[in-house]
Symmetry: C2
Subunit: 179 residues, 2 copies
DNA sequence: GTCTATATAAGGATAGAC
DNA sequence: GTCTATCCTTATATAGAC
């Protein structure tokens, strides 16, 4: 409901009705509206933290980034991950205002820091960011198309890998801006 | 304010206060909250419609798509375009619920239809969608980096062109998924 | 752990004077 | 065209019985 209609437009009354209980019962389990979101993201936050811990202990090179992205894409196939990402993509302003949103933002910055290097050019950083976005948004970008979730994941990872490889290549080798 | 805090979290009272008038005065100029958004997007809708009219009269080929994207990127440098896009990216659920949002969605689908071909593979469609997203999101993705708006635009267009070219290439030529 | 009932605040939107 | 004052609805959240 938060993803489809928006966090602000989804009232606790509606949630309670859908659950077949009253608002008061809902408040017993979730002291605030934010706590509902928090409970939804716990599993994902923990899984990505673990993946980041692993990656940050590896050599800081292309191979690690590549493998990180592959494992990240596998995670993303799980229901909870895709839904958390879709929720925050559709309610981006919550990343600044909601406590649970701030945790997501900080973790995402950690992911981005892993994928990029301070010496990267703007073009390289953009490619790396788009690689991540390719995985996040493949569901949305390809939803009109026929295809299984597996096919979509494969396409997302293929394009993401291509972008990472392009970002790793020496400048000028991969593109001809004037062409 | 809509972009930073969210459309729903920004009240007409806050807007009126910022303008130094009362809510009632605001309502004189904008009968509904949606009309405020509508007034903001008019200029962009018209400009992109004109660009689409031009492109749809051209041959449906790679050169047209490439030139469309370049002209689209130039448009995007204008304050109003970047801000409209940022507004809808940060308030995506409004694309379904707000009348002004529906107009934006329909136009975006027209843009996407121009860039893609029904015979495209999932990978190709994803590349084309990311090309568009590269231009839309370069501000956001690169905001932490030093660089002028011109440099960001150049980087966005370079990556976008690269993605379009990669999507145009015959399958298997541009990537090695197993590598 | 769930209920009924209610507190309290804020929202979008209007009426009517000036 | 702007104001004061207000309507009506909904929201998050709480109190207290069962």
């Amino acid at each position: 409901m938060f993803t489809e209609d928006g966090y602000d437009k989804t009232s606790l009354r509606e949630i309670a009705e859908k659950l077949g209980v009253t608002k008061a019962a809902l408040y017993y389990h979730f002291p605030t509206k934010d706590d509902i979101v928090s409970s939804l993201i716990e599993q994902r936050i923990a899984a990505v933290d673990a993946l980041l811990d692993w990656a940050e202990a590896q050599p800081r090179d292309s191979a690690t980034r590549r493998e990180f992205l592959e494992r990240y894409a596998v995670l993303h196939d799980e229901f909870v991950h895709e839904n958390v990402i879709r929720f925050f993509e559709r309610n981006q302003t919550l990343i600044n205002t909601l406590p649970a949103g701030k945790r997501m933002r900080e973790q995402m910055m950690r992911v981005f820091a892993l994928l990029t290097d301070p010496s990267d050019s703007l073009t390289q950083q953009l490619r790396r960011a788009l690689a991540l976005f390719s995985i996040h948004a493949s569901w949305f970008l390809l939803r009109e198309r026929p295809g299984t979730p597996e096919e979509r994941r494969a396409a997302a990872l293929e394009v993401a890998s291509e972008l990472l490889r392009s970002a790793d290549a020496p400048a000028g080798e991969d593109a001809d801006p004037a062409g």
